[in-house]
Symmetry: none
Subunit: 231 residues, 2 copies
Amino acid sequence: MTNENDYILVVDDERAIRDMVCMALVQEDFQCSEASDAHKAEVLIKKNQPQLILLDWMMPGISGIDFARKLRRQPETMNIPIIMLTAKIEEDNVIRGLESGADDYLTKPFSPRELIARIKALLRRSKPENTQDIIKINNLVLDTSSYRVEGNGQTIELGPTEFKLLRFLMENPDRVFSREQVLNNVWGDNVYVEERTVDVHIRRLRKALEPTHHQDMVQTVRGAGYRLSNK
Amino acid sequence: MTNENDYILVVDDERAIRDMVCMALVQEDFQCSEASDAHKAEVLIKKNQPQLILLDWMMPGISGIDFARKLRRQPETMNIPIIMLTAKIEEDNVIRGLESGADDYLTKPFSPRELIARIKALLRRSKPENTQDIIKINNLVLDTSSYRVEGNGQTIELGPTEFKLLRFLMENPDRVFSREQVLNNVWGDNVYVEERTVDVHIRRLRKALEPTHHQDMVQTVRGAGYRLSNK
DNA sequence: AGCAACTGTAATATTTATGTAATATAACTC
DNA sequence: GAGTTATATTACATAAATATTACAGTTGCT
């Protein structure tokens, strides 16, 4: 699974910490922005709402506690999970931290591994429950929760890439995608493979669809790309 | 939805923590009882079985780990979800915690919000089991209350982890789970175990299912995870 | 204390999928 | 219809994912 869609904001006045954290996040495919103080953070949040905020406890200007409190007060930011980064844990900190509304704590120094684990745990909780969704076009049924594809009730065997490819096309039926677009959406943004590779996987997909005669739904648009359609 | 039917027991020697936690619980409409040590907790459990137990790691007398282990051994309390409250996470704690059978961890200090979120997540998971003790798929019968599994009437011997694994899969049949999801649901959240460990337990489960020829119900979905299905 | 049962990890083996290049076919241009 | 370009098809070496086994450390039990 990839974290590409989760955007995390790191707020800390120490550049070294920000860099370290961001590096760990990027390694895990998270999107990441940095802010050196609360004001800059606010601007960034307005521009693009993060899924999670890592917030330093002690900062010049507005402290992490006060900033957390402020975020909790505003409806738009109320539900963004916050992880506090503290130098050390003191009883006093704990109480004030609880009140400010942080969701988790991390005491410096912390390992990237622990940081990632906690972020994932929090994100999991803040995400809506998995929804079982079934895409159905023309007797061709793709179930994303069971990873099954059926044509006229018959099971169709697909490799991982063919499954992702079919899923992408079925989620956007009747629309033509260039090979580049297909690569970006199915393989991922930062992967480099030959454009012609798409042809091969289209071929594999068609072959797999032959037994149930759905191969013609995967259509070539010469000079433009590919399309999935029932016409 | 309301939580007034869920009764939660808080076991901790520190009064301040108990009060804080209970206050948060009551605010969410949970029923709540407090116990300052394992013995008092035991009496309360006998009187009225809680839906979930919050258990302090370090307590004078019987420690949280030992108490959890004890609860796991007795059939009546075997299936009550347990969340451990620990002062800090050390490698050693994690390992021993795993074996004691806790379902989740919470490191002090924690926010009420996170506490509630985790409790709800755990309850959601254990709900189907409360209403239905016996899950049956394809002549494979799993009885959560007696900790027994039968295939075609024949008893199947399973270790604790394999049992939990099979149970989780049977509660969500025909659905693919990544190794990460399996770990979070079977081992518990916030637990650092290699993803490949799942493979090994899947192997053990399959082996145990061989005598009754149910091993093929545990299916690999390459690039995605595992699934239990009768197809 | 000592044996049996479990667990997680690492090493190794096995299976399956992937991307590329080479070649064939089809579709356009003029 | 020859030449040109785009796509189809096939084969294959390699990479990646999973299966399997062995093992060392714990715990539970007697």
